[in-house]
């Protein structure tokens, strides 16, 4: 049961003041313009999508327990891997950090009342819902069997499934993503409080800013591409289908022109979270702030120039292939800089292994593997062998899941007390991170080995020599599912049994910890004082309120 241990002077001592209790009834949520409520709705939506996508992944892994038909038919398997990919990419990973955590945290971190365009923000959420409904309709009617990439001409002239429905879904989801990005760019430009110069912004905001630029610039290309694809499928326009005079490789260029930058939509916000977590739980200013901020921007810009590395075997010209290879290696440098800077932040720190930090360290381990295995795929001679094998599958899961998902969960545990006003159970949180870490490696490391040995991806049946790796991977996947479920249970239980959260449980110096937990409807009574976001000496532990408070500034929020 909830105890009465509350920060004595905090805003939360008057419950009618926080955003959760300010108004009641279902409509007060559905038509809310409050960025925090929209963030929470996004969180519920994306987490639902994640568990649906994860469930499909477990079905896929179950099928691979043997190399012959086990539970599903060819067609069912093809639909499972397509929907797993499409749901995870379009409904979960792309919106997860920016739209769920970012929506909640960005304005508070900025000391602002809301985002610049609250109505557009709500519209973005409903576009997400409509896009999700299109996907679910495709799932429930004919399924979808093109792979999440919708490669032509299979998707336009052969597939018997509801490709048009799903592409319209992805098209609408694209607009949802553009709206979020546009909102964040304007908010960061125009709503920073006095004293918060660009280089006093928390790094999470830098990463969201870099992400927003990609969302706004790259996503329209996906929209146009999917419209052309739907036009070809419905009206027989010859754009990609060679039988109609089109070019299937053109589709791949269009698709990856969005979808490679989209990889950075997925990973950049995760890197931003890690910068916050490592600094807070090492109780040290982030090392090399400017290098990390600039590396986010560098990744966003270089990310536009490397899409062709998805097409090294596609039949594009050799010269183009070589140029894309060298550009691909250039994008590895800013990522390496971030890893080194995070490590240096821990040096001479005061490190505590709270759950968010456990996830952050998992991220460091897994993202390093994900990044380094990218070198094998950037190098042309080795990529020719590894392309379209399980090596690639393992590589991008280490980045997308070991990176983005793990950082997302870390960030969720970190900001959970702020969002809900409740502390979760630390012990079970740590256990969940340990299970996720071990199970993740068991799931995906064997895939590197079988990929190197020549196991192609998207295979329903496989040769007997690959079975041992598949079985290991399947066992890992079920354990991983259990770990993630445990994390979800720990968070949900905290809503009912968790201790009331203080304003600043972790001792972070960024602005969101200056308002109550959960924040009041308008976030701040008056514009907060802006200092160095990583000056950990500006906050001290206050045993009276069981919270960190600003030095010489008691109570933390109100005067």
């Amino acid at each position: 049961m909830a105890t009465d241990v509350m920060p004595a002077h905090s805003e939360t001592s008057r419950p009618e003041d926080n955003y959760l209790t300010a108004s009641k009834g279902i409509m007060s949520w559905l038509v809310t313009l409050d960025h925090k409520r929209i963030g929470v709705m996004y969180l519920i939506g994306t987490m639902t999508a994640m568990f649906l996508g994860g469930f499909l992944a477990l079905l896929l892994r179950a099928e691979h327990i043997s190399g012959t038909p086990t539970f599903f038919t060819h067609d069912q398997y093809n639909q499972l891997f397509t929907l797993h990919g499409a749901i995870m990419v379009f409904l979960f990973i792309i919106p997860s950090i920016p739209a769920a955590l970012g929506n909640f945290i960005l304005p508070v971190m900025l000391g602002a009342k809301d985002v610049a365009f609250p109505r557009m923000n709500l519209c973005s959420f409903y576009l997400w819902v409509i896009g999700a409904i299109f996907f679910i309709c495709a799932l429930l009617t004919t399924g979808l069997d093109t792979g999440w990439t919708f490669y032509t001409p299979y998707s336009t002239n052969t597939s018997q499934t509801n490709v048009v429905l799903a592409t319209f879904g992805a098209f609408i989801l694209g607009f949802s993503s553009i709206f979020t990005g546009l909102n964040f760019i304007v908010t960061i430009h125009t709503m920073r409080p006095p004293g918060m110069t660009w280089f006093r912004m928390p790094l999470f905001l830098w990463s969201l800013y870099a992400t927003a630029i990609i969302q706004v610039l790259a996503t329209p290309v996906l929209g146009i591409t999917l419209l052309l694809l739907a036009a070809e499928r419905m009206f027989g326009l010859g754009i990609f289908d060679p039988k109609l005079g089109g070019d299937p490789v053109l589709y791949q260029h269009f698709f990856w022109f969005y979808s490679h930058p989209a990889v950075y939509i997925m990973i950049l916000p995760a890197m931003g979270i890690i910068s916050e977590l490592i600094s807070t739980f090492s109780r040290k200013p982030i090392f090399g702030y400017r290098f990390i901020a600039f590396s986010s921007m560098a990744i966003a810009l270089l990310g536009f120039l490397v899409w062709g590395h998805h097409m090294f075997t596609s039949g594009q010209s050799e010269m183009v292939t070589i140029i894309f290879s060298v550009l691909t290696f250039s994008v590895s440098i800013p990522s390496a800089i971030k890893v080194f800077n995070w490590l240096a932040t821990m040096y001479k720190g005061s490190i505590v292994l709270a759950t968010p930090m456990c996830y952050a360290l998992s991220f460091l381990f897994l993202f390093t593997i994900g990044g380094l295995t990218g070198l094998f795929l950037g190098a042309l001679a080795t990529d020719i062998h590894l392309h379209d094998t399980y090596f690639v599958v393992a590589h991008f899961h280490y980045v997308m899941m070991g990176g983005t998902l793990v950082a997302f969960i870390g960030g969720l545990f970190y900001w959970w007390p702020k969002m809900t006003g409740r502390m979760y159970n630390e012990f079970w949180g740590q256990i969940s991170s340990l299970i996720v870490f071990v199970a993740f490696n068991l799931t995906f490391f064997p895939q590197f080995v079988m990929g190197s040995r020549g196991m192609p991806r998207r295979y329903y049946n496989y040769l007997p020599e690959f079975q041992v790796y598949h079985v290991l991977s399947t066992i890992g996947a079920f354990l991983l599912g259990f770990g993630l479920l445990l994390a979800a249970i720990v968070l949900i239980v905290s809503l009912f049994k968790g201790k009331k959260a203080p304003a600043n449980p972790w001792g972070a110096a960024t602005l969101e910890w200056q308002c109550g937990s959960p924040p009041p409807l308008a976030n701040f009574e008056k514009t907060p004082t802006v200092g160095n976001p990583y000056d950990m000496n500006s906050v001290v532990w206050d045993p009276d309120t069981e919270s960190f408070i600003r030095r010489g500034d008691v109570p933390p929020v109100t005067d």
Binding site: Y154, F329, M346, I384
Partner: protein, 329 residues
Amino acid sequence: MTQFWNSINPFPGQHSTFASNVDAIFYFTFWLSAFFFVAIVGFMIYFVVKYRRIEGQEPETSPSHNTTIEVAWSVIPGFLVLGIFWWGFTGYVDMRSPPSEAYEVNVIASMWQWQFKYPTGAIAKELHIPVKTPVKLIMQSKDVLHSLYIPSFRTKQDVVPGRYSGMWFEATDVGVYNLFCAEYCGQKHSDMITKVVVHPVTAEDATDEVKETFDAWMEVAADPLKGPGGVVIPLEEAGKNIVEIFQCAQCHSIDGSKKVGPSFKGNFGKEVEIAGQGKVLMDENYIRESILEPTAKIRLGYEPKMPSFKGQMKDEWIDAVIAYIKSIQ
């Protein structure tokens, strides 16, 4: 010992001239990555232990940036990855520069089978090549994207409809290796697997796995109407070989069961129902037309999915196929 090494070796055997270079780049990148990975994780664990939080004790101050160090760890990895790029690039150029005197094989990919056509007119469903000879594949797709992948040769190339794509390699060892489709191509993508049979050029190089020389194999393959040594075989048997080469059994059963197309069994000489055209007698002319112009008469209850074999199947071969179908009653 060899067995133990095989079970932990991340690669299939090296059986082309590219393979050793590709593996060398792989291992170089691997050990370089392993070094950085161990260093990063090592420091991480060391810091977590050494600088763990002790209550009431503030951390000692340390610099929040150091331009020299930061520039160093930006520039040095830059040079290392440029080295990897360069090595990968030179290896790639070799893979994409076929020697002018290479032996050419035409590859036709379709859902979900491979067909290999030789200068002699021979057609095969497995790729047969001579050892230690550069071989160039000229590839086309009849329908969607496919990708020809031979792990033991470390090479792969997409097959794109509407254009020819090419690849080349030189097998170094006699043997039988896997050939996969690596680009998702619909329902039976994972069944689009065949073999590469690398034949010895001379009889003394023969192994237990591959006994025939390439020329001996070609002599039989070039003329499915004849058996080994040029012996004439019964027409039915030749028809069976041809049905095998063209992989007709993917869609037509011989036991009466319904697949994508109607079964070969028990229909010859009978009236069959044609969609929109009433009943037609299934005779020699019907079979011939179905092979050359499959969409002219579609059996009731089936989709018009069969491709035309016009220009691929010679007249004498069609005779043999007819004889074979007649024999399945």
